[in-house]
Symmetry: C2
Subunit: 202 residues, 2 copies
């Protein structure tokens, strides 16, 4: 069948993400990727200039997917503020447990971006995106519950991303579910100290 360059690029980026999540970035050679996509090796270079050009698209692909996933979350359930915050953190861990290879793959891509000149700026873009998403969630949660944040939300979002990154590494290393819980409690408590009722919803 005949595919447009755009279709081929999309298919390859998806295949690459699959391979990266399953086998790691180092194993995501062009050969492994085209095998996953069911294409001939030459088709890769017809669609992409080089492997790093594909990796840029992989990162952007994931960021788009996350925006959609978080967008669906913005319709927050009825719950008290503490439950909402703690539940949000728990939801991230749930996602991590469901797709650990994917989270590890994204961190591998981040580190690779930091070493590879051709990917300069991609890690920054990635993390600016993460923080923007969390900022949106923190604002939505506060509004939902008539609370306001006591320091710039961007700072708190950065703290949340820091914590989720750390939790990701820890869980990937030992898969210790029980050990995650008290950490989530500590993080949630730290966030709660940075919020107070607006007074508009008495």
């Amino acid at each position: 069948m005949r595919l447009s360059v755009e279709q081929r690029r999309t298919a390859l980026a998806h295949a690459a993400l699959t391979v990266i999540a399953r086998d790691g970035l180092a194993a995501a050679t062009t050969r492994a990727i085209v095998a996953e996509a069911g294409m001939a090796l030459a088709s890769f270079h017809y669609a992409y200039e080089s492997r790093v050009e594909l990796l840029r698209d992989v990162i952007r692909l994931v960021l788009e997917g996350e925006r959609d996933a978080v967008g669906a979350l913005l319709d927050l359930p009825e719950a008290d503020f503490a439950t909402l915050i703690r539940g949000g953190l728990g939801a991230y861990v749930g996602n991590l447990r469901e797709a650990p290879g994917r989270e590890q793959g994204m961190l591998e891509l981040t580190f690779h971006s930091l070493r590879e000149p051709a990917l300069e700026g991609m890690a920054l873009e990635q993390y600016a995106h993460y923080r923007a998403l969390v900022t949106g969630l923190l604002l939505a949660a506060a509004e939902r519950c008539g609370m306001r944040w006591l320091q710039p939300v961007e700072q708190l979002a950065r703290f949340v991303v820091t914590c989720t990154d750390g939790l990701t590494v820890a869980w990937l290393v030992d898969h210790d579910d029980a050990a995650i819980e008290p950490q989530l409690d500590l993080i949630a408590a730290a966030l709660l100290t940075q919020a107070q009722p607006t007074g508009e919803h008495p």
Copy 2:
């Protein structure tokens, strides 16, 4: 000059660590490592069975170095508890700023260990070591100030390692020194809520 196998292994592990910190794990080929060590390629395989066998030694080398470095820290200065905790976190960030490539390299090694069957268990060993070191520091700080921890110190140590990992990723991505500070404050505050005076030092 003639070197014993042991001397050669040590020299190669040190050279490997240098290359990994400077250029990344992916660039730490056997060729790059022997070049750094000023050896011939064949000498590598005289000392080591394979590349992964060397990587095991690299991880162990770093862990030993950290034990020594932390050992020197255990003689804690006279200071109030909050200052000590906050200062300890700040010290880690200082180390990160001084040797960012090294910290990135260690995370790359961790992820590589998780993907490479021949390195199975190394990541666990690495993180058990990190947590043990932090546990020692937390206990020493509490004792120094007549405080006791309100939950198992191992849990708190795990939380600290989680946070430092997250901070490492964040700082490696954007090198934003200013943005680190409020996060350290949040983390330190979270820890302080988990300690109280023993009453033995009133």
